[in-house]
Symmetry: C2
Subunit: 308 residues, 2 copies
Amino acid sequence: MYDTIIVGGGPAGLTAALYALRAKKKIVMIERMIPGGQVAKTLTVENYPGFESISGFDLANKMYEQVTKLGLEIIYSDILEYDITGSIKKIKTHNGTFEAKTILLCLGAFAVQLEVENEKKFIGKGISYCATCDGNFFKDKTVAVVGGGSSSIEDTLYLYDIAKKIYIINRRDKFICEEEPLNKIKTLSNSDNSKIEIILNSVITSLNGDDKLENITVKNKNDNTLKELKIDGLFVTIGRKPDTELLKNTLNLDDIGYILTDENMKTNIDGVFAAGDVRHKTLRQIVTACADGAIASMSINNYISTLK
Amino acid sequence: MYDTIIVGGGPAGLTAALYALRAKKKIVMIERMIPGGQVAKTLTVENYPGFESISGFDLANKMYEQVTKLGLEIIYSDILEYDITGSIKKIKTHNGTFEAKTILLCLGAFAVQLEVENEKKFIGKGISYCATCDGNFFKDKTVAVVGGGSSSIEDTLYLYDIAKKIYIINRRDKFICEEEPLNKIKTLSNSDNSKIEIILNSVITSLNGDDKLENITVKNKNDNTLKELKIDGLFVTIGRKPDTELLKNTLNLDDIGYILTDENMKTNIDGVFAAGDVRHKTLRQIVTACADGAIASMSINNYISTLK
């Protein structure tokens, strides 16, 4: 019987493990692919405090090594079944069923992809799914933001002080987001020589370039005209999704599927906690995922100390 | 006119600066002593993800260098006066008055000291103010926890799986804390050969040792008897206090003086944000302070983007 099963080995899970192992708890981590989560697949990280510039793979590996040296037990498997409503939590994997007093869900969230040819090829080479993470690499460059929600508007405003020129490409004829930032965008795009150009009713039909993204083709859905835009960077903001399908009948989730927790990372079920990108929250960054993991671990310690 | 004045250069302030500078905001940091805050004075840090073991000074310095290279402007001064209720925020220092659209308060919090001779000498050499930070250095050792509140009880439970023996020294005849963890402590301390020994109505009168803390003298306040305890570590948990005296008539604070914010780090005053240990929150760690700073910076960006 473990104190905690940590599901997912990204920054949230690894930090929770760090805190749990230092507190001498008996834990096991179940990871589907490789430790580090999305970070491990990130080309360069420059916004994690303490590292001026580091590859995501190296940062993930440092975090992983740190907990490995404390004796982390890790199982590589998908989760086949969650049975977590009772006082003993059970998780079924390809390597058997694990039992614990508590569960910490660090399942992450994945950016929805455009599903246009060459997209994978240009990730980290012009295509990004996070302006806050990668915007700084496009100082005085021309970029496009694709999407029609509040992330697209926020990312455009974020990029406004950085980039030379920003196209916003929206497949609809309007944006679905709060009024105030949208008004700001409209005012900015209506000024002379505006940095911002809004392209409505349009979709990206091709991504072109040799080693890196150089231009995109945009199709107007009303008249089917094609336009080519020369850009250095494309920020894809058409949504993110957590992988919480197996939990939807058990846990309180928001409309998108993110797990609802309180500020101590507790879900609606006793002994079940969630941390990192999978959680309903405002900002999804490496350092905020780590903080979630630390807080979750302390909450779990406190929870366990009250068990009979 | 700055976009933001960041008051305090600990992990929260430095991370906020990192995010603000990457977003090309115009910021200035005002720091009283040296960047890094309490971290810079911490001997060894082993619970910040990405660094297996690093001196607090080095970690603080890495975070500071990272923002220096992005062009951080830093002013060394105490704050003489806050004028932050209007739309233009003004902060008076020894180096003049600074004006900005927003203020981020990263003032930290300081552990209340015992005020017993030799206390400063043994900090990091047996005396600690944070079990979560330093508990792991006392595996299978004898430690004492001094204090009568919930931190003392939580720290004792935290140390229970780590240390060989734990004395809890409380100047009162009872603990002021939640019932459940306290019951757990009572049950544990009543068992045979218990690791935990509760010493009530007692204060520490001397801290003894050569290079490091070796034993303490404890006086019973009822009968004035003295007892000597041989210990390897002493965890002082008699309270923490933020330095928010100048803000008490302006901001909503909790009973101790911590600043109340929402989860996006907003205070009760428009354009005034708080992050890190100064904030009313559950867990005060380096990584949670950093996360606060990142979130505050994003909230500030969003706030500025809605200004006329």
